[in-house]
């Protein structure tokens, strides 16, 4: 790699860092982040109700880790991270165009790719942080009487990593959708709550045309019966292949987002 390329990459990296810090700071304080943080904490309320119910009803409780892995994590996977990634992913570009603030960014000495990548990274970090806090608190509540069992923390770490990968991948997809389509939310709903659910019913390789397939391949397959409405027929890929595909999908959609953002004219509506 010659010196010019290295310098360019270094400049790009610095630009991404600066854009990241600008939007991470702004996103942290935004009202919408606070609202979505509360949404991301809904499973905590669920966990509290599940944990406290045996105290009031006198019935024996279901094992905390079972509920955590088969309810809380799957709820995040199938619904919450989709909603969060859809909003924050499409916001990367759409927010600047709708708010007419794009000009302030595109008249700075930072490349358009750096703007997209920096803002994407900032919003992804925020969503991972929100989700991570919700997952961790839910885990602690559900396993409050087994916190000394360190083997359980492996499950927590694994699940947080899987959810983070999901957030990274979905946010990249929706970032691309936001740069490409004007009305990106409808596409997001159709993809996230339509395609991602329906395709899982299809046997064989067709399942591999969804992001959720690769995420579920990284989780243990649940027993059929309870909560079966949350997990569909799964023919998992290997973990290595799943991680590779998730990063590949992320890279492709981020690359496309940078390309479209650099080439497209964004006209502000009066």
């Amino acid at each position: 790699m010659n010196q010019i390329t290295v310098r360019r990459l270094l400049f790009l990296w610095n630009s991404i860092r600066k854009v990241y810090s600008f939007f991470f700071f702004m996103g942290k304080k935004a009202n919408k982040t606070k609202i979505f943080f509360i949404v991301a904490l809904l499973p905590v309320i669920m966990a509290l109700i599940i944990k406290l119910n045996p105290i009031f009803s006198g019935r024996s409780s279901t094992e905390g880790i079972y509920i955590f892995s088969n309810v809380i994590i799957v709820f995040y996977l199938q619904a919450l991270i989709l909603l969060l990634a859809l909003f924050f992913g499409t916001s990367v570009c759409s927010e600047e165009v709708e708010g007419k603030t794009l000009t302030y960014l595109t008249t700075r000495p930072v490349s358009k790719s750096a703007i997209i990548l920096g803002k994407y990274a900032a919003y992804t970090s925020l969503v991972i942080l929100m989700t991570g806090i919700g997952v961790t608190i839910s885990f602690l509540i559900l396993n409050v009487n087994k916190l000394h069992d360190f083997s359980l923390y492996e499950i927590l770490i694994r699940d947080v990593i899987v959810l983070s990968l999901g957030i990274i991948c979905y946010t990249a997809l929706f970032t691309f959708v936001g740069t490409f389509l004007k009305k990106s939310i409808l596409f997001g709903f159709v993809f996230g709550f339509g395609w991602e659910n329906v395709i899982q019913y299809f046997p064989g390789s067709t399942q591999r045309f969804s992001i959720v397939h690769y995420l579920k391949s990284l989780l243990p397959v649940p027993k059929i019966g309870r909560f079966s409405f949350l997990m569909f027929k799964l023919e998992p890929s290997t973990p290595v292949a799943a991680v590779f595909m998730l990063f590949l999908i992320t890279g492709i959609f981020l690359g496309l987002a940078c390309l479209f953002f650099s080439l497209k004219d964004y006209i502000f509506e009066d």
Binding site: K32, V39, L42, M46, I49, I50, N53, T62, I67, V71, F75, Q78, A79, L80, L83, L86, F87, T90, S91, S94, E95, E98, K183, S184, I185, L186, F189, F193, R226, F227, F229, L230
Partner: protein, 289 residues
Amino acid sequence: MTIKEKGYAHWDGEFLDKKFPWWPITRYGIKLTFRRKQFKFIFPLSLLPAVFFLAGIYVSERLEDFPFFGRETVEFLQINPSYFKAYLASSFMIFLIVIIVIFCGSGLICDDLKHNALQLYFSRPIKKKDYFFGKTAVIVFFLFILTLVPGLVFFIMKLVFSGSFKFFVSYPWLPLSIIGYSVVVTAFFSFFTLFLSSLSKNRRYVTILIFGTYILSDIFYRIFYDIFSNHYFSLLSLRANLQQVGAVFFSQKTPYPIHWIYSLLVLSGICVLAGFVLKKKVKGVEIVK
């Protein structure tokens, strides 16, 4: 009197007794909704279930011409109040209603907040209730086309196809049920949509709130039901509450073994909360602290 009360935003003149002062707001809201390209495609599609159900009413009078129909299909095509409930209170219809209100309702108040249009509205001789009524009427227009109109058309066409008033004599209260349920579902979604629309200036955010609230409420119910096997958790689900109330209107057995009054209370509670927030949020002048 402080400036924020007297200021530039409020109409100080005489309020003349004018018929339908809210009508221009409604008319413009409907026009704007139809301008959206995706809506022009989705709205006719949303009427397809009505077309199929209407075809079912026709077929029900000519069942002898369709001997290949299975027993279940024949049972379903016995046109009675459950047939009407199957259309109006089905999960699919409620989902369609959510999609339609996203298009016609998500921007109703949030766009006004975004463009500071509230000051323009309240500097005209219209009252707050006219503003709300005008906005609500946009949602009512589209939801009635989806619910009330097809429901009444089904009833009328049943009488026409059967060639007698026997159906009316058997179920004279059915038109009132159709009207009543349509009004309840429309009123609920009007309050719900306007409330969420008033929470933000960003239409995308409001769209996600509307859809997310609907989807998550249902998921929560199913999770809690699976864990606790307690039907009272159905009160968490907007869809389930609407179906409970719908069953009562059509004199059918409620889908969940809890008293329907609880569902009605939940829906009413959401409407009251929505009304309270709307009254606070919608004002001519915004004071930024």
